[in-house]
């Protein structure tokens, strides 16, 4: 063993080879999985070069076990964003989302059986999430963020015996560990999750469109069978918002969810969840089509039918971790090609906002070290774009509500018709510009989207994107 590990040491010479091959080219195929993992673990432990860590983490098995994973994540994440004044947990102003946070923390770690350990983890979860939002009050909490933070906590705290004896340990050691977890969660949040933390779900819904786009490119038949030209792929929302941590639970060290996060962090890429979901659908094509046919009679409309069918298939796949390991292999293999397939929509049709992690901090294989000021600027930019989008949608909805009341109220309808008629007559006789002027001056909020849509149907939506 000793001599084998020496020959795999992470010197600069092997680095060049590692970049062009996979680590498995060095390991004879007759070696069984357990032994492969053991070997890889030894290599990771000996590695001090972060570039090598990035490669190792993107490969099969990821970082293998939580004891080394925690160190690797910390090392890689701190090369993606440099935080100033990390210790800032004493802010006392409440964040408006703390109620929701408490509700979700209460329902977390349900798969942890030891109730004492579960309570310990929940307490930690609450302190970290609330700490993050008090420190970054511009960000908004979304349901599902707690699933991601739960996963981070378990990397450092999956051993219940150690945790339950923590209270007897020296306080400074406990504090130091808390700071490390907090720092990693903070960096991950700021680098990867900003799209989800605006005050609406518009940006994540945009991200979902990339799934439809990829399926269209890679399997047009399936694209049509799934009616993706007609429906929005809302069925993927929980997987995308939580990077699969809502559905794939880290029940033990071998759970697939660890490898997914290893890959995201090592590749520094927010594309991974989108690619995994797409590959999941492509690989389950036949099952999915069968399920859709089986279900056709049972659902009211296509949105329901497709959502339900995918949910059913996903549920059966989750219990089959081997299947997910296969998806991971495909995802790694096709990564570069698939991201290239997406680049056309990314830049041409501007589906994705220009401050998105997908285009900036987590676009994959980044060589930039961002700082807090960069992130602040990006957040401000995104909040601005999101605000415009949300206003358009809300005024549209308000307009619908007005229409709804008008149509459902016969008296009002009559009165309104008379009013319109009168206005028409007046406009015939008076200066034609008068009505336009009044309209422009009053700028009734609910009329605005109509105005913009009529004058400039498409460009308005994206005019603020740059």
């Amino acid at each position: 063993m000793g001599s084998t590990s020496d020959s795999y040491s992470s010197s600069q010479e092997t680095l060049a080879t590692l970049e062009s091959n996979t680590i498995y080219d060095f390991i004879p195929s007759y070696i069984n999985l357990g032994f492969q993992k053991e070997l890889k673990l030894k290599i990771i432990r000996d590695t001090t070069n972060p570039v090598v860590l990035e490669i190792l983490g993107s490969e099969k098995f990821g970082f293998i076990e939580n004891k080394v994973r925690s160190k690797c994540w910390h090392c890689l994440l701190s090369r993606q964003l440099r935080l100033e004044n990390s210790r800032n947990n004493d802010v006392l102003i409440d964040h408006p989302d703390e109620n929701q946070i408490n509700l979700d923390v209460k329902r977390s770690f349900s798969f942890v059986e030891n109730t004492k350990h579960r309570d310990f983890l929940k307490d930690l979860l609450s302190r970290i999430i609330i700490g993050i939002f008090r420190k970054h009050p511009k960000l908004r909490y979304y349901q599902g963020y707690h699933d991601i933070v739960s996963l981070f906590i378990l990397v450092w705290h999956s051993n219940e015996e150690v945790d339950l004896s923590l209270s007897t340990m020296i306080l400074s050691a406990v504090d130091a560990q808390f700071d490390t977890v907090f720092e990693c969660v903070e960096i991950f949040t700021l680098v990867y999750l900003r799209d989800f933390m605006m005050n609406s779900l518009d940006f994540p819904i945009d991200q979902l469109k990339l799934i439809s786009h990829l399926i269209k490119e890679k399997d047009p038949d399936l694209y049509h069978s799934m009616k993706l030209d007609k429906i929005s792929p809302f069925f993927a929302i929980s997987s995308i918002l939580t990077f699969f941590s809502h559905d794939l639970k880290p029940t033990n060290e071998n759970s697939i969810i660890w490898e997914i996060f290893d890959l995201i962090i090592s590749k520094n890429s927010s594309f991974i969840p989108i690619l995994i979901f797409t590959n999941f659908i492509l690989m389950q094509k036949q099952k999915l089509i069968d399920q859709i046919n089986l279900n056709t009679e049972n659902f009211d409309n296509e949105t329901d039918l497709i959502h339900a069918s995918i949910q059913q298939i996903l549920l059966t796949s989750i219990s089959n971790e081997n299947f997910f390991f296969k998806i991971m292999t495909i995802t790694r293999l096709n990564y570069n090609r698939d991201v290239k397939l997406l680049s056309k929509v990314l830049f041409d049709s501007r589906i994705i906002n220009c401050g998105s992690p997908l285009l900036t901090t987590a676009k994959g294989n980044n060589k930039t070290l961002f700082d807090t000021k960069d992130i602040d600027n990006l957040i401000d930019k995104q909040i601005k774009i999101n605000g415009t989008r949300k206003n358009i949608r809300q005024t549209n909805t308000r307009f619908n509500i007005v229409l709804y009341h008008v149509i459902n109220n016969k008296h009002l309808l009559v009165k309104l018709s008379i009013l319109v008629g009168l206005l028409a007559i007046i406009s015939k006789f008076s200066n034609r510009n008068l009505i336009w002027e009044t309209y422009h001056k009053t700028k009734k909020v609910w009329l605005d989207p109509l105005h913009c849509l009529l004058h400039n149907p498409t460009s308005y939506l994206y005019s603020n994107n740059n």
């Binding site: 929701q100 819904i205 809502h246």
Partner: protein, 208 residues
Amino acid sequence: MSSKKKTILKVIILGDSGVGKTSLMHRYVNDKYSQQYKATIGADFLTKEINVDGDRTATMQVWDTAGQERFQSLGVAFYRGADCCVLVYDVTNTKSFENIKSWRDEFLVHANVSSPESFPFVILGNKIDIEETKKVISVKSAQDLAKSLGNIPLFLTSAKSSINVDPAFEEIARSALQQNQNDADAFEEDFNDAINIQLDGEADSCAC
């Protein structure tokens, strides 16, 4: 021949986050309760076969949506085709009670139902197992609200202690079935067209 075709009753559960929508659905469908149901992200559904008028069966399809406000824009995608809408509040949470009306309005605006005045809603005041001192919504004010919204049936339930859940869902099934049959019989007045005509008219007059 029509008796051979499956009857699907689509029911949608709305209400603030944490009022117990997921817990009620699981209590009704699986007769189970766990303190540890995950927060709902997006929309989930469960089905249950039920008996209607003696020997006929129908499939009740219960759609459970996320309560956090930001998920509403997504939830509305699932309102379409509902046969009954269940509005849930938590008897220990004033805000959740005050929001019942806006959940109903939100539903009516987006569901595009054929006759909004007669569309069936059911209100559930959940968590009545919790000790009296913590309850903040009186039975009286709940009844007043139900009345003011058009005599909507009201049930005080507990998913935890299984109080009133079955009777509530029996009522839900009954009204969903009725709505389902009404819809099948009715000559559909198309509200969509009305909206389109309005918009087209406006577009023309502005373009010139």
